[in-house]
């Protein structure tokens, strides 16, 4: 017998002793060993070497040879493969490669295989120690959230507190930026968003789903009563029953209806982490099962995606800007900062917490002047002050045209840039001056539209034209959020980039930004963002292929079902049986013009909806549609896998309770989204990567999302394919190994400490300033692999991602989109379909309601869960035992309606009614009201169409798209009326909403 065969035999014998020794030394290993009696066979394909292991009562014996009836078998093609794979530590590259090529096969009962693989992995993982013991007897763990990193103090399996992470001498952090003779340095701690600090209350919320449940009148084998969804209550069932119902239904759908019958739908955001994320574990599950995907529209980018990108490219960022180096450039060079529909103090750059707030105070100290163009004197305006131009919502493009009009007439623009870096300006100019349509877009002309005086717009245009100006748009200053999400969003975003192009975009002090991005962090340190697909193995619909799939060996996964439903049209797809969508495909600007249709030829319509998370009722515009959808008999089964009972959960037939990220392992980096948001870590003062510890055991019977998917897969025989035998902690280590972390911090230390601060970038290595290369005519020198090599019309790295390689005032890509009058090549100002000029509607509903991104909740994640956030004075108002959502009303409008501060009001239009508490304020211009989207609650007083006490403002917003040929949502603005509302006699708040002490 050759040496390798001998070695294999010895290894197989040795394994028995290894199990026994480990059982002696570790109670947790022993506990796992005792969980199952079974026989596991390990053998070569030709049976030339074979040994089986008998596990019984926590003991293990092994014998050479074949067992007649093992519950699980691990079969190797040959000795080489067996020796390679059985020699510790696990070599995943070899293991996955062998698996893909059938050189190792796991056969038998999926549960037994899962148990055995965990036992084998536990030989190593059982020794892992994590968390730091504190002097008060608690253990301090680490977590990463949408709002930033947290330390989590736990005692007796209970979270005592969640706190920010203060960096120590062990962390290489801090930097200094000099500007105009001053020096600025960030605080040496992670500055989080408020919603991050309410997570403890969220974990222990009385809205938590703690047990699997079934709708009382849902009988999977008999009457299903879809019409009662949202009405009938629930009965607790066992996990076995729940998993049986769901896995049987998956099989039934595929066998009765055929491919495409199961739709998998998810919110944009859930929890944080590269393993448990929707683009990771959920995507892998969907691909394993084969699903009709409910695909996202770029709902926070809309105008930039469908509009701005055609002028200058950046399709890979959905039309938003990169922001590289703009923090330093702004502090050093900019003289005026225009916040146009930009409120970074509310939306925190999406994930950057409050890291950027103090920079706005630095700018103030440096004397950088500020203008806010916003119908709402927003928290950013309150914080930094400056000139407020309370523009009428939806008319921003008119003001932008008038500014350009002044610049053209008074020569206040960068002629050199126009001549050398742009195309189409003459044609554009003719429109602005009214040569083509007879309407000179003067400040006087815009005043009628915007409500802002001609003299102020002229003053702004001159100030802007003479000063080095930064234009901050939306959440992070150069893209998503803000006015791009209303009916005029495409126009607005197009106008914004044209303003920039007229001022020499990229020259010192002239750029997009609001100080939110472009900090000197090391952008080249590799750690994947969530957009890179985690463990999904999905190479097309995530960014996995570029780095993640190459760096972390794992099985690929493919969804064979080529049928999709645009999320904006999910209700119509179910109710009408038809939907038209347009792709969110960032590879090229042209790809968004390609329509797709539901149903896709040859596929079944959808008859089962598997919903992950439950936020649609308040995050998708025109959301009363979803209620009708859920009660449709077309949906034979609705599964909701959710952490909390939220607005939409109540429509499910089966509820699978998921635990929060505090109750499972994961790994993730702060503000690292990857994909469309590549280098969003540049918003932070410091890159922070966290090993997201499992801080407590899952509450009740809840389980991690990964475990739920795995358990369903086991019942379909897909368990081993889905998991690769890895538990979440195994995956966390696999992710760790794929990154640059091991070069800087050992696994043992990372596991214990829980986080790593990526050392800041040194001066000579900082990224260049966004667009500076273009302004100066150099090859692109930014660390973004965009556009794709073929996206350059001319020489690689030269010019923008447009046909001409220049900034196109009249985009060629839109010229080729013939016959779409909603997106003409020469931008036209058109009045919004739902605004003051919609005469009949406006007479009935004379208030424009802004529906902005939440400030104190990350979408629905923290709101409405009896958590501390409810008590934030600007979030909800407690009245008669119920926490009401807030609508901000201008004082004059309130007085005219007899509404006092914190009165209950009905906000309504033809689409529905929402009961809110009025915040009477001077911070709204007359005729305008403001509220946040993403209430987690949907509580119609008495069934569909009756007033909602929960605060789902999107019940009121239009489901119409911004433009034909797009799925550009227009939900952030609508017309409403507001009236004082008295609580009807006898109406009580839902039980769980009642307060126990006033």
């Amino acid at each position: 017998m050759d040496m390798k065969s001998l070695r294999l035999k010895a290894t197989l014998v040795g394994l028995t002793y290894l199990f026994r020794m480990k059982a002696k030394s570790s109670a947790t290993f022993r506990a796992h060993l005792e969980k199952r009696d079974c026989v596991v066979q390990i053998r070569l394909k030709d049976n030339s070497i074979a040994r089986y292991y008998v596990f019984e009562g926590g003991k293990v014996v092994s014998r050479s040879g074949l067992h007649p009836n093992p519950q699980a078998t691990m079969m190797f093609k040959d000795v080489d493969t067996a020796v390679t794979l059985l020699t510790p530590p696990v070599n995943y590259a070899e293991t996955v490669h062998a698996g893909k090529n059938f050189r190792v096969i796991l056969m038998g009962d999926d549960e037994v295989i899962a148990w055995f693989m965990k036992l084998a992995n536990k030989i190593e993982t059982d020794g892992w120690r994590y968390g730091e013991p504190m002097s008060d007897g608690s253990i301090r763990y680490t977590q990463m959230t949408n709002g930033g990193p947290l330390h989590v103090y736990v005692k007796d399996d209970k979270i005592i507190r969640t706190n920010i992470v203060e960096f120590t001498d062990d962390d290489q952090c801090g930097w200094t930026m000099t500007a105009r003779g001053r020096s600025f340095s960030p605080r040496k701690k992670g500055l989080v968003a408020p919603h991050a600090l309410s997570m403890k209350a969220n974990v222990y919320s009385d809205k938590r789903l703690l047990y699997p449940m079934k709708r009382v009148d849902f009988d999977p084998n008999g009457e299903r009563n879809p019409q009662n969804r949202g009405k009938s209550g629930y009965v607790r069932i066992s996990w076995d029953e729940a998993l049986d119902i769901v896995s049987n239904e998956i099989v039934r759908q595929k066998q009765v209806h055929g491919p495409g019958a199961i739709a998998l739908a998810h919110p944009s955001h859930h929890q944080w982490g590269n393993v448990g994320y929707y683009l990771s574990a959920m995507m892998r599950f969907g691909n394993a099962v084969g699903v009709t995907r409910v695909v996202l529209n770029p709902d926070s980018w809309e105008g930039w995606y469908w509009g701005a990108m055609h002028h200058y490219g950046n399709s890979m960022r959905l039309g938003a800007t990169g922001g590289y180096g703009t923090l330093e450039d702004a502090l050093q060079n900019c003289e005026l900062m225009v916040y146009w529909s930009s409120d970074p103090e509310s939306q925190f750059g999406a994930y950057a917490g409050t890291e950027t707030s103090e920079r706005r105070l630095w700018a103030k100290e440096l004397g950088i002047k500020t203008v806010h163009i916003n119908p709402h004197y927003c928290p950013t305006a309150s914080f930094v002050g400056g000139k407020w131009l309370p523009i009428r919502p939806g008319t921003d493009t008119a003001m932008a045209l008038a500014i350009m009009n002044v610049w053209i007439k008074e020569g206040l623009y960068d002629r050199w840039f126009i001549e050398n870096r742009t195309t189409g300006f003459e044609e554009w100019k003719e429109y602005v001056l009214g040569v083509t349509d007879g309407v000179d877009k003067t400040p006087e002309w815009q005043a009628v539209e915007t409500g802002i005086s001609a003299r102020e717009v002229r003053a702004l245009a001159r100030e802007w034209g003479r000063k080095k100006t930064y234009l901050g748009c939306g959440v992070n200053g150069g893209g998503f959020g803000g006015a791009c999400r209303n009916a005029s969003g495409i126009q607005w975003a197009r106008a914004m980039v044209m303003l920039m192009a007229m001022q020499g975009w990229g020259k010192p002090g002239v750029n997009f930004g609001n100080l939110t991005t472009g900090a000197p962090v090391d952008l080249e340190f590799y750690f994947p963002g969530y957009g890179e697909g985690g463990i999904s193995g999905e190479l097309m619909a995530t960014g996995s292929a570029t780095n993640n799939y190459v760096r972390m060996p794992h099985l690929p996964s493919v969804n064979p079902v080529q049928q999709s439903i645009p999320r904006q049209r999910l209700p119509e797809a179910i109710l009408d049986g038809f939907a038209e969508g347009y792709f969110l495909d960032p590879m090229a600007a042209e790809n968004q013009m390609r329509p797709f249709f539901y149903p896709s030829p040859g596929y079944s319509k959808v008859h089962m909806l598997y919903k992950y998370g439950a936020s649609y009722m308040s995050t998708i515009n025109g959301s009363s549609r979803f209620e009708r959808m859920y009660q449709s008999p077309e949906l034979e089964c609705v599964v909701s896998q959710a952490i909390w009972m939220e607005g939409e959960t109540q429509f499910a037939d089966v509820i699978l309770p998921a635990c929060t990220q505090f109750e499972r392992f994961d790994i993730g980096e702060w503000s690292n989204s990857g994909g469309f948001g590549l280098h969003w870590t540049g918003q932070l003062n410091h890159r922070v990567i966290a090993l997201q510890h499992k801080c407590i055991e899952p509450l009740g019977e809840s389980k991690s999302d990964y475990q739920i998917f795995w358990d369903i897969c086991k019942r379909l025989g897909l368990g081993t394919y889905y998991s690769e035998g890895s538990s979440e902690e195994d995956w966390v280590q696999r992710v760790y190994k794929s990154t640059d972390l091991p070069k800087h911090i050992s696994w043992k230390k990372f596991l214990r400490k829980g986080y790593f601060v990526v050392p800041p970038e040194t001066d000579g290595r900082k990224a260049g300033v966004d667009m500076r290369w273009f302004y100066e005519g150099r090859p692109k020198d930014l660390p973004e692999p965009y556009p794709l090599p073929a996206g350059y019309s001319g020489r690689f790295l030269h010019g923008l991602q447009t046909q001409s390689g220049k900034f196109e005032f009249v985009p060629n890509s839109l010229k080729r989109l013939q016959g779409n009058e909603d997106r003409p090549p020469v931008l036209q100002y058109t009045r919004a379909f739902e605004g003051p000029h919609a005469t009949d509607l406006y007479a009935k509903y004379p208030l424009q309601l802004l529906i902005a991104h939440q400030r104190f909740s990350f979408h629905t994640a923290q709101d409405g869960k009896s958590s501390a956030v409810n008590d934030v004075l600007d979030h909800r108002v407690l009245k008669d035992g119920h926490y009401y959502h807030i609508v901000r009303v201008a004082r004059g409008d309130a007085v005219a309606r007899g509404i006092a501060h914190h009165d209950l009001v009905r906000v309504f239009n033809d689409r529905g009614s929402v009961i809110c508490a009025a915040d009477v304020t001077e911070r709204m211009a007359p005729g305008i009201a403001h509220s946040y989207e993403s209430s987690a609650l949907y509580e119609p007083i008495d069934g569909p169409g009756t007033p909602d006490l929960g605060g789902s403002m999107n019940l009121l917003s239009p489901d119409r798209m911004q433009a034909r040929g797009t799925v550009a949502s227009a939900g952030s603005l609508c017309l409403v009326q507001i009236e004082k509302w008295e609580r009807p006699e006898g109406l009580v708040a839902p039980q769980e909403q009642r307060e126990f002490a006033s």
Binding site: E166, T354, E456, A459
Partner: protein
């Protein structure tokens, strides 16, 4: 003996509520015997952020500032009726004994600032304890200042004399000093809250077109004396800030005997006033 104080800078507060939320986090469901019993899950705001708006659209500002138990040195809540129930530590922190105070709803009304809160479930009066339990464990500052992203809240442990010196030097103020309670929470830039402004905008016709009147000198007079002069900005806006409410009849007029529609204007402002647009004559 060094004692704890908070210094709040109104201009640096962005109303993120991190301070409010960490107090909820710290005391929600947690019992710290000898310091504080758990806070009610709902409604309680031991440490909260107040809002002040001044002016009317489009000339307004809005400020935010945290308020909480002031840990007064002459605390009205510390009296004969609360002897042994409310104590002041050597480091300045005022604690309400969570055992001895049981049932003492009367204590709630003793705080003229309204910062003693009634816990109905536990029948206890409660205050924000400056996170004394954490400071005693070696924490370097209370959580409210630790989580503040902008330095709007600073926790300072110094001798009383040093604090008094700093307050004088930096123009720090305490809330309602007339009560004589000697609060230990100090505020910078509190003028943003309790002072008022008078503002307006000026326009002029140039070449037949209405323009913002920049660089026009505007004066504020009180009782026949010129109080201040300012110059309109790019947008023709002017503003006189830091005035006491109800402090007399003010007159806004243009310098150099210029006139504008609506100016000079006389007013007795009780709150901030925006005089609107005046066209230069």
């Amino acid at each position: 003996m060094k004692k704890w104080n908070l210094v709040v800078d109104v201009e640096r507060c962005n109303n993120c509520n991190n301070c409010f939320l960490v107090v909820k986090d710290e005391h929600g469901g947690n019992d710290f015997p000898g310091y504080a019993a758990p806070q009610p899950a709902k409604g309680a705001r031991w440490f909260r952020v107040e809002r002040q708006e001044r002016g009317v659209a489009p000339m307004i500002d809005a400020s935010h500032y945290p308020v909480a138990c002031n840990h007064c040195d002459d605390a009205p809540c510390m009296n004969a009726e609360t002897a042994g129930v409310i104590t002041k530590r050597a480091d300045g922190i005022v604690l309400i004994d969570p055992v001895r105070a049981k049932g003492r709803k009367d204590i709630v009304g003793m705080c003229p600032y309204g910062h003693i809160h009634w816990n109905d479930e536990l029948q206890l009066p409660q205050n924000w304890i400056f996170e004394a339990h954490l400071l005693d464990q070696g924490w370097k500052e209370p959580r409210v200042s630790q989580v503040c992203p902008t330095g709007a809240i600073e926790a300072v442990k110094v001798e009383d004399a040093a604090m008094a010196e700093r307050a004088a030097r930096e123009g720090l103020r305490t809330l309602r000093p007339e009560l004589g309670a000697k609060p230990r929470i100090y505020y910078r830039n509190f003028d943003r809250v309790d002072k008022i402004f008078i503002g307006g905008s000026l326009a002029e016709i140039r070449d037949g077109v209405e323009e913002c009147a920049e660089g026009v000198q505007v004066e504020l007079w009180l009782n026949g004396e010129r109080l201040a002069t300012t110059t309109t900005d790019t947008f023709g806006d002017y503003k006189f800030d830091g005035l006491e409410p109800d402090s007399g009849e003010y007159e806004v007029r243009l310098a150099a005997e210029r006139f504008a529609e609506g100016l000079p204007a006389k007013l007795r402002p009780a709150k901030s006033e925006y005089l609107g647009l005046g066209r230069l004559g």
